[in-house]
C-alpha cells in the first residue's frame, strides 16, 4: 500500500469528490484512465463492482469464460492498441486463474491492470471462503501489486497502478480490492494532470539516453564494416513513433535488420533490408548475419536464449550495442560494449540526429561486400518447402492465408508450437501492433482470448488466431465469449494431430519415442464450432485451401477453420539447443539428433 504520503497529498481533490461508494470510485478512476473495455468474470467479492458496472454504460465489460482468458484478452487489446489492458476478477479462484496470464504479460512486457476482488479486510488471513493471498501469489508475476485497505486511497492507487503499468518497461499490475473497501463511502481523487511525475512518489524510469553513450554508439556504427540491427518488442512497446524512427535509421544507414519474434512488424517485412526473424527458428541469413557481424545493434530486445543459442559462441566477433529501457537487461546474458538505458523512441531520435550530423559514414564499398555475403546466405532460400502430393503442408496453409488476407491488414494472434513459428516465418508483417504471440512464456491457449481482445479494439478488422489443435483446446471455452460479444474472430487451426513442436523434439532428440504427444480423441472441430454457435470449416485438400480461406474471411461471425495438414512436417531452420547460430539445421535431411549432444539435451 502506498503510504501516508498519498493521503497527505490528495492533489486534485475537487468539490465533487464525494463521498461515493468505493466501487463507484473505482469505475470513476478507470474512466479517468481512459478505460473503455474491461475483461472480466464476476463473483462474490466483486459483486459491488459489478453492481456499479450495471448502472453505467461508458465502460464495456466483456464476460470471458475463464479468468486466464480475461488476462490474455486484455493483453491482445493492449498489444494491438498500445493502451493499458484492464481485467476484473473475483477473489480466490478468480485471482489464481489469472496467474498464467499475468506471468505471460510480465515476460512479454505488456501493460495491464488486473483488479482482483478480495474478502473483506477483517477476514483477511482467516482462510475465509474464496480467500487467497493474491498479493503474495502475484508478487513474482507482476511488475507491482497493491492491496487497498482504505477507500480514500482507492482512486489514487488505481491511478498509480496505471502509471506503473505503462511507464518504463511495461508490465502487469494487480490491485487487490477487499469487498468492504468497495462498499465503503469515500472520496474520489482525480489523477494528477499534465505532470506524470506525481503519479508515483518516486518511480521514474529513465527514458532519455545518456548522450555520451549515444555518441559512442554512433561512432561505432560509422566505423562498422558488417553491421546488423537486431530489434525486439521494445520497439513495438515504445509506440509507433519508435517504429517510424527505426525505419528511417535503417534506411539511412543501409544496414541489414533482423528482429525477434516479439519485434515483428516494427520494420516492414517488405523492406529491402529485412533479413527475417532470428533465433531458434529464424532465417539462415538472419542468424548467420548475427554470427558474422562486426557490430550488433540491439534495440529493444533482451538477448533471450531463444535468440542467442549457446552464449559461448554467440556473435563472437562483434562489438555490441544494447538499447533497453530496463537497465537490468543490459549485461544480463551478454556483456556488451555499449549499454544505453532509455526508451527506444527517445534513443532512436538521438541516434538519428547524430547520424545525420556525422561526417563519416561507413564505406559503401565495404557495406556492399557485407550485403553480397548476405545475398549468398539468402540464396539458400531457407524457408523453401514444396507443396506436393495430397497433404496440405502447414507452411503452405499459412502462406496462402497471408496472401489472401494481406490486403485487409489483419491482426494475427497465435497459440504456441510449430504453427506459431511457421506463422512468424510465412506471415509477413508490415506494421507494428499487428502481431500478438506469447513469446517469453510460450503460453498455449493464448491466441484465442488474445484475438478476442484485439477484435474488441478493432471491431471492423480481420483478426485471425493461427492455432494448433492442441493449444486451441486450452482456452476453447472463449469461443462462447466471441459469440456473445459478436466478435468475428477466425481460428485457423493447423491440425497435425500432434503437439507438433513436442513431436519434433522427440523425433530429433529422443529417438522418435512420441511419448504422449499424439493428440488422441480430438473433437470434431466443425461440430464443436457449430455447438458454440460459430461457423465451422474443414479443408484437407491442397487445391481447396484458397477457397476455404476465402470462405472463412467472408463469414461475419466467429469461425473455426480446421486445416488438416501433413502430420510429419518439422519446423526449420532450427538451431538445436546448446548450439551456435552457425550450426543451424536447415532441413530434415540433416541429422539434428546427432547435432545435439551432452548439455544441449538438458536445455529447453
Amino acid at each position: 500500500m502506498a503510504g501516508k504520503a498519498l493521503t497527505a497529498e490528495r492533489q486534485g481533490a475537487s468539490p465533487d469528490d464525494g463521498p461515493f461508494v468505493g466501487a463507484r470510485i473505482l469505475l470513476m478512476a478507470l474512466e479517468e484512465q481512459g478505460v473503455e473495455v474491461v475483461f472480466g468474470y464476476p463473483g462474490g467479492a466483486v459483486l459491488p463492482i459489478y453492481d456499479e458496472l450495471f448502472k453505467q454504460n461508458r465502460i464495456r465489460h466483456v464476460l470471458v469464460r475463464h479468468e486466464q482468458g480475461a488476462v490474455h484478452a486484455a493483453e491482445g487489446y493492449a498489444r494491438s492498441t498500445g493502451k493499458v489492458g484492464c481485467v476484473l476478477v473475483t477473489s480466490g479462484p478468480g485471482a489464481t486463474n489469472t496467474v498464467t496470464g499475468l506471468t505471460d504479460a510480465l515476460l512479454d512486457s505488456i501493460p495491464l491492470v488486473c483488479l482482483t476482488g478480495q474478502v473483506p479486510t477483517h477476514l483477511i488471513g482467516n482462510d475465509a471462503f474464496q480467500e487467497a493471498d493474491t498479493v503474495g501469489i502475484t508478487r513474482p508475476c507482476t511488475k507491482h501489486n497493491y492491496l487497498v485497505k482504505d477507500v480514500n486511497l482507492l482512486a489514487q492507487v488505481v491511478h498509480e497502478a496505471f502509471y506503473v503499468a505503462r511507464s518504463g518497461r511495461p508490465g502487469p499490475v494487480v490491485v487487490d480490492l477487499p469487498k468492504d473497501v468497495c462498499m465503503a463511502m469515500g472520496h474520489y481523487t482525480t489523477a494528477p494532470r499534465g505532470n506524470l511525475r506525481n503519479q508515483h512518489k518516486t518511480y521514474r524510469p529513465k527514458t532519455k539516453p545518456d548522450a555520451a553513450a549515444v555518441a559512442h554508439a554512433v561512432a561505432l556504427m560509422a566505423a562498422a564494416k558488417k553491421p546488423v540491427f537486431y530489434t525486439g518488442g521494445g520497439v513495438i512497446n515504445s509506440g509507433p513513433k519508435a517504429s517510424a524512427l527505426l525505419r528511417e535509421l535503417v534506411e539511412l544507414t543501409g544496414f541489414p535488420i533482423t528482429s525477434t519474434l516479439m519485434g515483428l512488424g516494427a520494420y516492414p517485412a517488405a523492406g529491402a533490408q529485412w533479413l527475417g526473424m532470428l533465433g531458434m527458428h529464424g532465417t539462415y541469413e538472419a542468424n548467420l548475419a548475427m554470427h558474422g557481424c562486426d557490430l550488433l545493434i540491439n534495440i529493444g530486445a533482451r538477448f533471450d536464449d531463444r535468440v542467442t543459442g549457446n552464449l559461448k559462441y554467440f556473435s563472437p566477433g562483434s562489438k555490441k550495442i544494447h538499447v533497453d529501457i530496463d537497465a537490468s537487461s543490459i549485461n544480463k546474458n551478454i556483456i556488451v560494449d555499449i549499454g544505453i538505458v532509455g526508451d527506444c523512441a527517445a534513443v532512436l531520435e538521438e541516434v538519428l540526429a547524430l547520424w545525420k550530423a556525422h561526417p563519416r559514414k561507413p564505406d559503401s564499398k565495404t557495406l556492399r561486400v557485407w550485403w553480397r555475403q548476405i545475398a549468398d546466405w539468402r540464396g539458400r532460400d531457407c524457408l523453401h518447402y514444396e507443396q506436393r502430393g495430397k497433404l496440405i503442408k502447414p507452411q503452405y496453409a499459412i502462406q496462402r492465408l497471408y496472401e489472401l488476407t494481406k490486403k485487409r491488414e489483419p491482426y494475427i494472434t497465435t497459440e504456441v508450437g510449430q504453427h506459431q513459428m511457421w506463422a512468424a516465418q510465412y506471415f509477413r508483417f508490415e506494421q507494428p501492433n499487428h502481431w500478438m504471440t506469447s513469446g517469453g512464456l510460450g503460453t498455449m491457449g493464448y491466441g484465442l482470448p488474445a484475438a478476442i481482445g484485439v477484435q474488441m479494439a478493432h471491431r471492423d478488422s480481420l483478426v485471425i488466431d493461427i492455432a494448433g489443435e492442441a493449444s486451441i483446446l486450452m482456452n476453447i471455452q472463449e469461443l462462447s465469449t466471441a459469440v456473445q460479444h459478436h466478435l468475428p474472430v477466425k481460428v485457423f487451426i493447423i491440425n497435425n494431430k500432434y503437439m507438433g513442436m513436442v513431436r519434433q523434439w522427440q523425433e530429433l532428440l529422443h529417438g522418435g519415442r512420441y511419448s504422449e504427444s499424439y493428440s488422441a480423441a480430438l473433437p470434431d472441430f466443425v461440430k464443436l464450432a457449430e455447438a458454440f454457435g460459430c461457423a465451422g470449416l474443414r479443408v484437407s485438400d491442397p487445391a481447396k485451401v484458397d477457397d476455404t480461406i476465402r470462405k472463412m474471411i467472408a463469414i461475419d461471425r466467429p469461425v473455426i477453420c480446421d486445416v488438416v495438414v501433413d502430420q510429419k512436417e518439422n519446423c526449420f531452420p532450427m538451431i538445436p539447443s546448446g548450439k551456435a547460430h552457425n550450426e543451424m539445421i536447415l532441413g530434415s535431411r540433416e541429422k539434428a539428433g546427432k547435432a545435439i549432444t551432452g548439455g544441449g539435451l538438458a536445455l529447453v
Binding site: 504520503a5 545518456d210 548522450a211 555518441a215 560509422a222 566505423a223 555499449i338 540526429a353
Partner: protein, 220 residues
C-alpha cells in the same frame, strides 16, 4: 573497448545544426576511449572472481516491500550473506535495507539493476564500490564454562571490547560490535571456550563523508 572512430577525423567544412547541438560531453566521449558514466568496464564484468559487496537500499516502508526484495533475490538465485531492514524515516515512510552479498561483478551489477527496477525501491547504493564506507554488526554471544575457560573468555571479551550483558555462574552473554570480520573472529575464539549460541543483527552500513544516501533519490 576499442578506440571508437573519432568524429573529428574527417573534418566537415560546416557543422550541420544537429551536430552543433550535440552536447559537448557527448562529443568529448565520442572522441576519447573513456567510458561514460554508469558504464561498467567489460573486463570487470568478465572477471570470474567473487567479491563481497554491501548494498544499501532506500525503500518505501509499505506492506510487502521486504517480501518483494527477498522474493526477487530468492527467485533469481542471488547469494545473500546478511540482510537488515529498519525504518529510517517515519514521516516519509522510508526504510533502509542493507545487503551483504557475494558474487562476481557481473552478478552484483545484475542484482543492483534488479533491485533498482522494483517499484518501491528508491535508491540502490553499492557501498563497497562507491567510495569508503563503514559497516558494523552486533552479535550476542553466549558462552558457558567454568574455571580457566571462563577467565579466558572474559579476557578475550575485553580485548574485543565486548560488553557482558548477562552473566551467571556458568555462562556469559557478550555483546560484541564491529565489522563482520571482527565479529567472526570473536565467535571463532569463543568456540573452544564453550560457545553455546550466537545471535547477530547482520550488517548496518553507511558511506563515509557528508553526503546522504537519499540525496540522489530526487533524481530517480
Amino acid at each position: 573497448m576499442s578506440q571508437p572512430l573519432h568524429m573529428s577525423m574527417a573534418k566537415p567544412k560546416t557543422k550541420s545544426r544537429a551536430q552543433a547541438k550535440m552536447p559537448r560531453a557527448a562529443r568529448a566521449a565520442a572522441q576519447s576511449s573513456n567510458l561514460y558514466e554508469g558504464m561498467v568496464p567489460q573486463a570487470r564484468l568478465k572477471d570470474k572472481d567473487t567479491y563481497r559487496h554491501i548494498v544499501s537500499l532506500l525503500v518505501d516502508n509499505e506492506a510487502g516491500v521486504l517480501a518483494r526484495v527477498i522474493g526477487m533475490i530468492a527467485g533469481r538465485g542471488y547469494n545473500i550473506e546478511s540482510l537488515t531492514v529498519s525504518e529510517v524515516d517515519r514521516e516519509l515512510h522510508l526504510s533502509r535495507i542493507n545487503l551483504a552479498t557475494l558474487g562476481t561483478h557481473q552478478i552484483i551489477e545484475q542484482l543492483k539493476a534488479q533491485l533498482g527496477r522494483l517499484v518501491p525501491v528508491h535508491v540502490v547504493r553499492d557501498l563497497t564500490d562507491e567510495g569508503p564506507s563503514v559497516a558494523r554488526e552486533l552479535a550476542l554471544v553466549k558462552v558457558a564454562g567454568v574455571g580457566d575457560k571462563r577467565v579466558e573468555a572474559l579476557r578475550i571479551g575485553d580485548i574485543f571490547r565486548a560488553n557482558v550483558v548477562d552473566s551467571g555462574t556458568k555462562s556469559f552473554v557478550f555483546e560484541v560490535v564491529g565489522n563482520t570480520d571482527k565479529v567472526d573472529a570473536f565467535i571463532d575464539l569463543m568456540k573452544p571456550l564453550g560457545l553455546v549460541e550466537v545471535s547477530r543483527t547482520g550488517v548496518a552500513a553507511i558511506a563515509r563523508g557528508a553526503a546522504g544516501i537519499d540525496k540522489a533519490s530526487a533524481e530517480k
